[in-house]
């Protein structure tokens, strides 16, 4: 059962990582236009090089 001493902190850490990623996305306005963002992928305007 000693393995729990590693596994539980690892699980909590990974969960925290996910939460941090969620906060980052929220803060950078990734949820402002979910519909538009899902369609923009079909746009081939900047496929060759990134937008300057």
């Amino acid at each position: 059962m000693e393995v729990l001493a590693f596994l539980i902190p690892i699980a909590l850490f990974l969960g925290g990582l996910g939460l941090a990623a969620f906060f980052w996305a929220l803060k950078h306005r990734q949820y402002e236009d979910p519909e538009g963002d899902s369609r923009r992928i079909l746009n081939d305007d900047w496929d060759d090089q990134p937008r300057p």
């Binding site: 909590l12 969960g15 996910g18 923009r40």
Partner: protein, 700 residues
């Protein structure tokens, strides 16, 4: 870098990736535009541009690219754009969700058979995660419950807050006593699902609020003030009595006033419903909201802002609105019936078990807590917001904005639909009606002449001729005579397009433009075009079994012709604003629920008197303010869809109530018998919440 202008445009017709690309390309190629970003969810584009770029130029550019666009006032909109409260709620949803998942890992281990020290440790870790999470994520419920208690009421959040606090406290006590059951995952699940419901509810409300603001912003009212001969564009709110205002052809009269110079025809259809323009000369009275058609007019302001006839009508509307009885939604009724039963049931369970077990406090409290958790209205909190979000999202995609949260439920009860004619079933804009009566040559000359003018009739004529594929004739010496028409020389002959008197033709009974080809004169008759979808909407509503009425302020002949064309049996012509409202009141007294669709100032009282109301985006702001929903595009067909959608979604809401009631009916006895373990609670809660959400998504 100089501070540029930020412009916001509403784009009611965009719907796909191609539209995004086309709009952004069209705008970024325009002179002075730095960047343009489309938001498809809100159907808006925000443009960052040099200060000299005007919205009108961009709208024209988009129109040529094939997209309808309206200017929005960024000042009014800025409030909803940074939706702090929504992001705050979303953050709490996220925290509750991640905490729930982590605790679930531990709980599954406990359910799978972890015992003794391992179980106690897992419970303890769960408590360490759950207590701060509930303290943070549960705040909306605690705050709302406290607020209600202070006001001496009990709302739905009271039992919820009670359940959260009590369950955490008892679970912590059990953990420290190394008890068998702790409900940490159930508490977090409850928080998580309820927060989702709360967030959806907030979003629906925020959308309704932003719809109202978007509409306030749709019409940015400006006027051209003449001071010492110089023209100056100012907001209408800065005008005062005695100012001189210039109204260009095609412009809307911003104030009440008297004409001091100029001669023109005025379209009063928005105020009275008449389609025929009225000839206006010096000394004539104008009311705010009328549209100047032909020559420029100089108007001395007699009443502006709050005193103008527009605002007096708005006051009438306010009076009619306050008379409209407050509507109780399904959710309110359910909450009122359900909220007190939760604490009562668990209190009852506590006392009964105290009596059965002969005073075993710990057992009785555990049963009471299990009952509290099971009865907590997890699915109930999702039942309405999930359906409303799905329905309003679908309607928005079809071009309908819902301004009022209860509009959907009221729309579902409608059995009679009353339409206004001018501007609602018709476009309220003239189109030439008798092009077939003229030879190709005359049409070519007319196109060349009309193309040189910005007069609304000339523009409508040019557009119609271009659409027919007519080639413009070659004309030299093109000159516009303001207020009269356009003239030029064609094959050595003088040609004119304009008013009857100036051209030398006899005036026809309806709106017209006249063409002179030297010795011969021809007349182009204009008629109001039917709005796209008008025929379909009437047919679809009749197929749904609704009674359809046409009530207009226009003359009998025009209304009768329209009614016959659309197959509407019940019609009334020449109706004054009060008569429209009275007719609707009479229908409602007979027990009918009336949907009013109208756009004019003469409709506003009727719009607010009806059970529910819809107006097109082209309507006057007073009319839009008085209605519950607004049609963003030109097509009127979505109204029939909206009525159907409203019925379906109300049915879904009822189904959801029954569904969550059914789960309670099954699991409450289990809890009352003391058989409910944390596993049962978690299962019941997630099953009911997920099935309720799935039912909402079924909406088409």
């Amino acid at each position: 870098m100089p501070k540029g202008a930020r412009l916001l445009l509403s784009l009611p017709t965009i719907h796909c990736a191609g539209c995004i690309g086309a709009v952004e390309r069209a705008l970024s190629q325009a002179q002075g535009v730095r960047s343009a970003r489309v938001n498809l969810t809100l159907k808006r584009v925000s443009v960052d541009a040099e200060p000299e770029v005007t919205a009108a130029a961009l709208i024209e550019r988009l129109r040529r690219a094939g997209y309808e666009a309206h200017e929005l006032d960024p000042g009014v909109l800025s409030m909803t754009e940074t939706d702090r409260q929504g992001r705050d709620l979303l953050m709490r949803v996220g925290v509750a969700g991640f905490a729930m998942m982590n605790i679930m890992i531990l709980s599954v281990a406990v359910w799978a058979g972890a015992s003794d020290a391992t179980r106690d440790m897992f419970h303890l870790i769960s408590a360490l995660i759950a207590i701060p999470t509930v303290a943070f994520a549960g705040q909306p419920f605690f705050r709302s419950a406290l607020g209600a208690l202070r006001a001496g009421r009990l709302n739905m959040d009271g039992p919820i807050a009670l359940a959260l606090v009590l369950t955490v406290a008892i679970s912590l006590y059990e953990t420290l006593k190394s008890g068998e059951h702790a409900y940490f995952e159930a508490v977090l699940m409850l928080t998580f699902f309820l927060l989702i419901g709360r967030y959806l509810d907030h979003r629906a409300r925020a959308l309704a609020r932003s719809a109202a603001q978007e509409l306030a912003a749709l019409e940015v009212p400006r006027a051209i003030r003449l001071s010492d001969g110089a023209e100056q564009t100012v907001p209408v709110s800065q005008l005062s009595v005695g100012d001189l205002v210039l109204v260009r052809p095609g412009g809307r009269v911003p104030v009440d006033g008297v004409v001091t110079a100029g001669r023109s025809e005025v379209d009063r259809s928005l105020l009275t419903g008449e389609t025929l323009p009225v000839v206006t000369t010096e000394g004539a009275q104008l009311s705010a909201g009328e549209v100047n058609l032909t020559g420029p007019l100089t108007v001395r302001v007699t009443a502006a802002g709050r005193d103008s006839s527009l605002h007096r009508m708005a006051d009438l509307v306010a009076a009619a609105e306050s008379a409209r009885t407050r509507y109780t939604t399904l959710a309110d009724r359910a909450a009122r019936a359900y909220a007190p039963t939760i604490p009562l049931l668990s209190l009852g369970a506590f006392f009964v078990w105290m009596w059965i077990s002969g005073g075993d406090l710990r057992l009785s409290v555990n049963v009471a807590i299990a009952t509290l958790i099971i009865t907590c209205p997890c699915a109930l909190g999702l039942a309405v917001p999930a359906v409303v979000t799905a329905a309003s999202g679908r309607l928005f995609r079809k071009g309908l904005l819902i301004k009022d949260g209860t509009a959907l439920e009221r729309l579902a009860e409608v059995d009679t639909v009353v339409f206004d004619k001018t501007g609602t079933l018709t476009m309220g804009a003239p189109v030439p009606d008798n092009l077939d009566a003229h030879p190709e040559q005359a049409l070519g000359v007319a196109l060349a002449l009309a193309g040189a003018s910005s007069h609304p009739l000339a523009r409508a004529l040019a557009e119609a001729l271009q659409a027919r594929g007519v080639r413009p004739a070659e004309i030299s010496d093109l000159r516009e005579a303001p207020g009269y028409g356009v003239q030029g020389t064609w094959q050595g002959r003088p040609v004119k397009l304009g008013r009857a008197g100036w051209v030398g033709a006899t005036h026809a009974a309806t709106t017209g433009a006249y063409l002179s080809l030297g010795e011969e004169t021809r007349s182009f008759i204009f008629a109001d075009a039917l709005r796209p979808g008008a025929e379909e909407v009437v047919q679809a509503l009749r197929a749904q079994g609704k009674a359809v009425w046409l009530i207009s302020g226009d003359v009998t002949a025009a209304v009768e012709a329209m009614a016959r064309r659309l197959g509407i049996e019940n019609w009334q012509a020449g109706a004054l604003p009060e008569e429209k409202a009275a007719r609707i009141a009479a229908l409602q007294d007979q027990g009918h629920r009336v949907l009013m669709v109208g756009d004019g100032l003469n409709d506003t009282v009727a719009l607010s008197a009806a059970h529910v109301s819809i107006s097109p985006a082209s309507a006057l702001d007073a009319a839009r303010a008085a209605s519950d929903m607004v049609l963003l595009g030109r097509d009127i067909a979505p109204i029939a869809d909206a009525v159907r959608m409203a019925r379906v979604s109300t049915r879904r809401i009822r189904q959801n109530f029954w569904q969550s009631g059914l789960y309670n009916a099954v699991f409450v006895p289990v809890a009352l018998l003391g058989l409910c373990t944390p596993l049962w609670a978690a299962l019941a809660m997630s099953l009911s919440s997920v099935s309720v959400s799935l039912n909402a998504l079924r909406l088409r």
